[in-house]
Amino acid sequence: MNAIEIRQLTYTYPGAERPILNGIDLDVEKGDFLAIVGNNGCGKSTLCKTLNGLIPHFISGEFGGSVCIGGQNTLETDVGQLAQTVGYVYQDFENQIVRPTVLDDASYACLNYAYQDYEQRGRQALALCGLQGKELDYVWQLSGGQTHLLALAGAVSLGPDILILDEPIAQLDPGHADAIYEVLKELNQKHGKTIVVIEHHTEYIANYCRNVLLLKDGKVEWKLPTQQALQRVEELQACNIFPPQITVAGFALQQQGRLPKTAQLPTTIEQAKDCFSQLQYRPQAEMNDKPNRQEAVAEFKEVWVGYRSVKGEPRRIFNGVNLTLYRGEKIALIGSNGAGKSTTMKLLTGLLRPAQGEVLIGGQNIKHKKAEELSRQISLVYQNPEQMFIKDSIRGDIAYAMQVRGVADWQQRTEQLLQQFQLTELAERDGRLMSGGQMRRASLAIGVALEPSILLLDEPTANLDIATRKEIMKTLNNMKQITETVMIATHDMQLVCDWAERIIVLYGGEVVADGTRDEIFGNIPLCQKVGIRPPEIFAMAQQLDAKALCYTVESFLNDFKESDHG
């Protein structure tokens, strides 16, 4: 029997003109590991919400066709019963956690459905999700990845046969992302759960998922085994889905006639080892710009920082950090969650004071300066753009800082910025109601409005699907001309490779490395210690030749040539 059977499903949101789901037919076998891919707004999340009965029981609208879960029609049952068969983890998973402690939250649903052994079930679910030993922790003590695991545990505790996860790793660093997928793999293989993920990261699809479903305009385009699905490079790219870099490289080689057209494209590094074995590393002569470090714009001198904690000793974040940023540098600040990236930014903007040591901006100690005074020299764009929207329109938000400071021709400049960041048409909208990419662009425009000499960006590409991420990366590259010194704190190694001229690595409250991308990514022991995962194409090149340093598919194609005798 199939776990999920959908026949002729159509659904229209209340008030919408066109149906978002338009005649979906789908069978998902028991024990499948299915990835749903598709353009933004093609109905992926909506489809998943029909599986747990939220549609049509909780969210009204026009519903047609049938959805059967484990043989039961969702129309004939209710959300409560379905919840025990279908577990759901939201994309904004932190809002689905409602209890203060970990064990409480994991067993909350079981208690509500009156299981006598609710606590036991909660504990088991936590163990399954790798959160043993955290039972008594408070939810705000958890890292982003652990919070996601907790949301998953909350769903697993009811013992559902089907688990649905909406973009599970969008907000996580690679270490945590792996942890999530390893847990899912185990749930799938050992416990026989059917798993459905909405996923943009095709590397993870290639490594973990069994089947891929492409949704397009509210219809099922196809459902294929992963290996076959990822071969369709052009079709996927047309839907704004980016196949693994290795597959793209293989596809490009085929196009250039360097691989036979009939050959199966590789999707993982393992497969590619054979496929690319005839390639040899012959790098082009590389231009090596020596960074020009003349004028220090910001300095940390022996900075120590600690945080208050609810119980016990304050937590130490910085242990005597020394750091100098120079004018005109494009810096990436990397390190795992909690390594002190946000702390660095808060120190620079004067929002946090060091316990010991000095922070200098433009040669001046900022100890007695207020954050307001510093804001002309230094500007911070938050990770969560919503928190930067303080007016009821984007135009108002961009103009605000210039307006209150009486900047000459602020109106003109606002228009110019709106245009520069392609926001003119959205100018009157409230920032919160825009899409992820638009929000991010707006927050960048707000950040550069005062023409600060130092611009700080906290995770500018987090939470974005890959197409939007590429768009933001383009915006960031265009911004290089209009900003002087920029520092980005990020987990996104593709961004680091493409954009940064200098990389600073934080680990355990210290700067453990500081250099160019070759110096950082070429240092394998360092990457392993700190948990840095270079882009897949870089790892691929390394597999073929340990000396190879390729950061993009293009440079891979250029730097690797067929060997003469191959």
Binding site: G80, N95, Q96, R99, P100, A114, Y138, V310, I390, R432
Partner: protein
């Protein structure tokens, strides 16, 4: 006055930061679960509170009131309440009656005028400290189960513990919105006295303005929460008596509770005795 004004305007956003507030709220709710008070059965503590929260209003005997006041002071100390709460308590009592008491003393009021005021201050202080002991000594979850046992609707007790779960998030959100105003705003210069007053007004204005984005951001978040609550059986639980039973089974009265009740009872008895003798 000038100095005080400077201090006030400098401090309102800097020292009294959201970070500090958030920390105190959390500390108050969850930071003291190892104390004697936190380990008591919430039902016993609530019953205890009914006595100390009501009786002082109707008694006018100074000795008795002093006795009660001493007892609740001890329980407050046992509960290891966060500093901010005690500060607010002090401020509250003073603003209610304390200043009248001082004023009467200053302007030469005699003991006949002071005594009723002293009584009122004592009553307010006793009842406040009893409240602090119960509501900040117990963690919100135990408190809400206790309330439920006494017949409070499930929705109410859920709200209590959910509010505590959300507070840190809300405060962080609020802090960040405030920061946006601070970083992008242009506060008036505040070297002169007039500037300082303006700066203070500016800061208060910003705090008010910051509520609008906060509300919208929260509304946006709550969409997921509402759906998740539905999926996680929140409505189911409210209509299922079995769930209440399971929740209550976590409560049990131990020797510790007996001892606490007995000591309180004895204390009150002795105070009454003293009150009748003196």
């Amino acid at each position: 006055m000038d100095k005080l004004m400077t201090k006030l305007s400098e401090n309102i956003l800097d020292k009294f930061s959201m970070d500090f507030l958030r920390n105190q709220v959390l500390k108050n709710a969850y930071g003291n679960d190892h104390t004697l008070i936190a380990k008591l059965d919430p039902r016993v503590l609530l019953a205890w509170y009914v006595f100390f929260g009501l009786v002082p209003w109707f008694v006018n005997d100074t000795v008795f009131l002093f006795g009660c006041f001493a007892l609740v002071t001890i329980t407050t100390l046992l509960a290891q309440v966060a500093g901010l709460v005690l500060f607010l308590f002090g401020l509250g009592v003073f603003s209610q009656t304390g200043y009248l008491f001082l004023a009467t003393l200053l302007f030469g009021g005699d003991t006949t005028a002071i005594l009723p005021l002293l009584l009122l201050t004592l009553k307010v202080a006793t009842v406040s400290l009893a409240s602090i002991t119960v509501f900040s000594g117990l963690d919100p979850d135990r408190l809400s189960i206790g309330l439920m046992w006494y017949g409070c609707p499930e929705q109410f007790s859920f709200s209590v513990s959910y509010a505590y779960r959300m507070l840190p998030l809300l405060m962080e959100e609020f802090q960040n919105v405030l920061l946006s105003y601070r970083l992008r705003g242009n506060p008036p210069a505040h070297e002169t006295f007039k500037g300082k007053v303006q700066y203070l007004i500016y800061q208060v204005k910003i705090i008010i303005h910051a509520f609008y984005p906060l509300m919208l951001n929260t509304a946006k978040r709550s969409r997921t929460t509402v759906e998740a609550l539905e999926l996680r059986g929140y409505r189911y639980a409210a209509s299922n008596p079995q769930v209440r039973k399971i929740k209550f089974s976590a409560l049990n009265i131990t020797h510790r509770d007996m001892l606490f009740a007995a000591v309180s009872f004895l204390w009150v008895a002795v105070t009454m005795l003293l009150a009748s003798i003196l």
